[in-house]
């Protein structure tokens, strides 16, 4: 693991009396693909959202490059920490509008060609209506839209769950490529274990709002992680 990019320190989150996160700690190294796994309802998506402060932790803190994110301007934080969701949710009439959405909020613009090419799309798609693209292509546009802000960290919440197998593998290849080519730190929530095995460097297992630990991918998929992790991998949790 390289230098620490994101440090999650004893993060709790409760809403209407229900504890969703119960003191989660973890560190994410710069340039790695860090995967959060766990059964549904374990708190994966909520933990991911505390990193860009779409969800405010009830207690605990998250540090970006050593600085507490709770003291940062949330808008500036979210430009440094991008996010891709399960579904693309693209805005605007054209692919170019969709890609430039975040920049235009700051009255800035950019050339869409290189951005589209960096996610494996033809630059000529810029004038098309995003709804006319396949969901896999739309998800790439959503990734390009995040990259337009030149983030240091990219959060991905089940980014391939709405895609067919072929499109899923192309996005997985792209994630690996972004991490090595741009040295982008990626935090990936996924329930697809073979996806995690293909592209993650390290794995955090979340069970009922608690961290069971974080391991390198090789350790996680070996038998050295303990009973609970073994049972999760075997599909028993």
């Amino acid at each position: 693991m390289g230098p620490v990019k994101v440090r999650i320190s004893d993060v709790c989150y409760a809403v209407e009396g229900v504890e969703i996160l119960k003191g989660v700690s973890a560190t994410v190294g710069e340039g790695e693909v860090f995967s959060i796994v766990g059964p549904s309802g374990a708190g994966k998506s909520t933990l991911l959202r505390t990193i860009n402060r779409l969800v405010e932790p009830t207690s605990g803190e998250i540090f970006l490059d050593g600085a507490p994110t709770g003291e940062m301007n949330p808008l500036e934080l979210r430009r440094r920490v991008g996010m891709v969701f399960q579904l693309p949710a693209l805005f605007g009439e054209t692919v170019a509008d969709a890609v430039l959405y975040g920049l235009r909020l700051m009255n800035r613009s950019a050339d869409t060609g290189p951005l589209l090419e960096s996610v494996g799309l033809d630059a000529a798609l810029a004038g098309r209506n995003p709804q006319s693209l396949s969901v896999g292509q739309q998800q790439r546009v959503a990734i390009a839209r995040s990259l337009a802000l030149e983030p240091e960290v990219l959060l991905m919440d089940e980014p391939t769950s709405a895609l067919d197998l072929a499109a899923r593998q192309r996005i997985e290849d792209l994630i690996g490529d972004l991490s090595t080519r741009l040295n982008l730190t990626i935090v990936l929530v996924s329930h697809v274990l073979d996806q995690v095995e293909r592209i993650a460097n390290r794995v955090l297992l979340l069970l009922e709002g608690r961290s069971e630990g974080a391991w390198s991918k090789e350790e996680f998929f070996s038998d050295k992680t303990g009973e609970r992790a073994r049972r999760f991998i075997a599909g028993e949790l």
Binding site: Y13, R49, P74, F85, F91, L149
Partner: protein, 257 residues
């Protein structure tokens, strides 16, 4: 109200309602009870307000007019807040929106001397303004509440790209305002061609000069357009914040809950 002929004609008009009830029963629409409640309530409420207006017009004191209008605003806000159940501070938001809409439109009509400051004008026009503003406020509140839930992903995606709460909710606000204002805009566009508005129809039936009826109706339409816009926009701007924290986070819990 004391005219026996009027009461008789009201009772005769009730036979039309009997027809509606018969159709409801025949088609099993289950509307009989609602129709009955509506008939009784409207009769009692209109009779009561008729006496109240009669008394207030007789008092020739504008303070009572203002009190009556304030009562209307309070009742309208309560109704509208009920439609916006689940929205934080729905009652004060509706009360400010409907109150400002009514005060500003009636105030302009008075300041420009389009209508005289008498109970005879202020109460019926005020009632129309409050009623239409109430509808707009209810529609706006309910639509924003439903859309914030239904379009959660879009709003979060926008926030995640560095948008402020206001920027992230702007498509929801736009849809809610269009939804609240379109019926009145369409009615205004087609007025005179498809239907004659109630006030104008009433004046013509009552024997007033049709041109005078048209003059008042135009005033009414513009007044309603103005007040409905004010009410819908104020409700939108005052309520959207309650769905967010000051740190531009959606208040709707978390994806896991």
């Amino acid at each position: 109200m004391q005219d026996f002929g009027t009461v008789t004609s009201a009772l005769l008009a009730l036979s039309l309602v009997a027809g509606a009830v018969a159709i409801s029963r025949y088609q099993r629409l289950d509307l009989e009870r609602d129709i009955a409640v509506a008939v009784v309530r409207s009769f009692v409420q209109l009779a009561a307000v008729g006496y109240v207006i009669d008394i207030i017009v007789g008092l020739e004191n504008l303070l009572y007019v203002v009190l009556l209008l304030a009562g209307m605003v309070a009742f309208a806000s309560w109704t509208s807040a009920g439609r916006g159940e689940g929205v934080l501070r729905a009652f004060p938001v509706s009360a400010i929106a409907i109150g400002v809409a009514a005060a500003s439109t009636l105030g302009i009509l008075l300041a420009l001397q389009i209508i005289p400051p008498t109970a005879q004008y202020l109460i019926p026009l005020g009632g129309m303004v409050v009623g239409n503003s109430m509808n707009a406020a209810s529609l706006t509140l309910a639509r924003i509440r439903d859309d914030v839930k239904a379009r959660r992903l879009e709003i979060e995606a926008s926030l995640a790209l560095g948008a402020t709460s206001r920027q992230a909710i702007s498509p929801v606000l736009k849809a809610a305002l269009q939804n609240a204002m379109t019926p009145l805009i369409d009615a205004t566009k087609t007025t005179g061609i498809i239907f004659l508005p109630g006030a104008m129809a009433g004046m013509i039936i009552g024997g007033a000069d049709p041109l005078e009826a048209v003059r008042l109706q135009i005033v009414v339409l513009y007044m309603l357009l103005g007040s409905v816009s004010v009410a819908a926009i104020l409700v939108g701007l005052l309520s959207y914040r309650s769905f967010f924290t000051p740190r531009h986070q959606l208040r709707i819990a978390s994806p896991e809950s």
